[in-house]
Symmetry: C2
Subunit: 147 residues, 2 copies
């Protein structure tokens, strides 16, 4: 994989700063499970109120979540994943799988499966043009002007 | 995606600690491009010697890279990705793609493509049993005793 473009590294670094900490990841995963409200996140994750407030604000500012009022008065808000937030799931899945296979030393592994059948999922690179899957060695980086 | 198991979060956190910083990612990507020797990494990445030494040691300790002597005297070492290191590429690709699509605000996007044809790659979840791709909503986490 040839991705030497320094701008892509800066982008990657900003990505990790936004979503690469424990609580941000937990909140995103909870939102992927369907949680919406401040109190739901708090109860589900056992997270301190100021930390949750801080992370939700950062995720909203970063475009990963959207804040919407659902009641007033008093005003109450829901926090939903934006399409960008939902699009994080392949990265989360890949990191969880890698960690479980290569870093985890407990008695049990967490295994990510295809829910309907329980088979461990696989992740792959797919080329729509060639209609083929391929290995990391065939990944190349290129730049393209913004449309 | 339901991955509420706390042990999987701890594993994920350790994973990010090991490979979630700028220089570690740059080194892994350089190694995926075929770089091996200390001097090659140094020249290619423009990284300070003590930082490179520190990161290589951490990646070796974490099982992502292996250190092998290729000359003596004086002793000189190569640093290659282990199979665990190579297995990081789906996560790196997913993070790079997400960042370029959702975080990058420059004039040019970095696009990851299938090298032989230049088509932008797609990443998907695949079930070998059902012979189907599927969406993040159909991902479930389960635990399995270590074999």
């Amino acid at each position: 994989m040839a991705v030497a473009d320094p701008s892509s590294i800066t982008t990657l670094e900003r990505t990790l700063k936004l979503v690469g900490d424990r609580w941000s990841i937990l909140i995103i995963r909870a939102a992927l499970r369907g949680l919406r409200r401040f109190g739901e996140y708090q109860a589900d994750l056992g997270i301190a109120r100021p930390v949750l407030t801080n992370r939700l604000r950062r995720l909203v500012d970063g475009g990963v979540m959207a804040k919407e009022q659902y009641q007033q008065p008093p005003p109450r808000y829901e926090y939903r994943l934006t399409p960008a937030g939902v699009a994080l799931s392949p990265a989360l899945v890949a990191l969880v799988q890698w960690g479980e296979h290569h870093m985890h030393h407990g008695d049990n592994d967490v295994v990510l499966v295809h829910a309907p059948c329980g088979t461990e999922l696989e992740q792959g690179f797919w080329c729509r043009q060639c209609e083929t899957t391929f290995a990391p060695a065939a990944v190349r980086a290129t730049t393209r002007a913004k449309s």
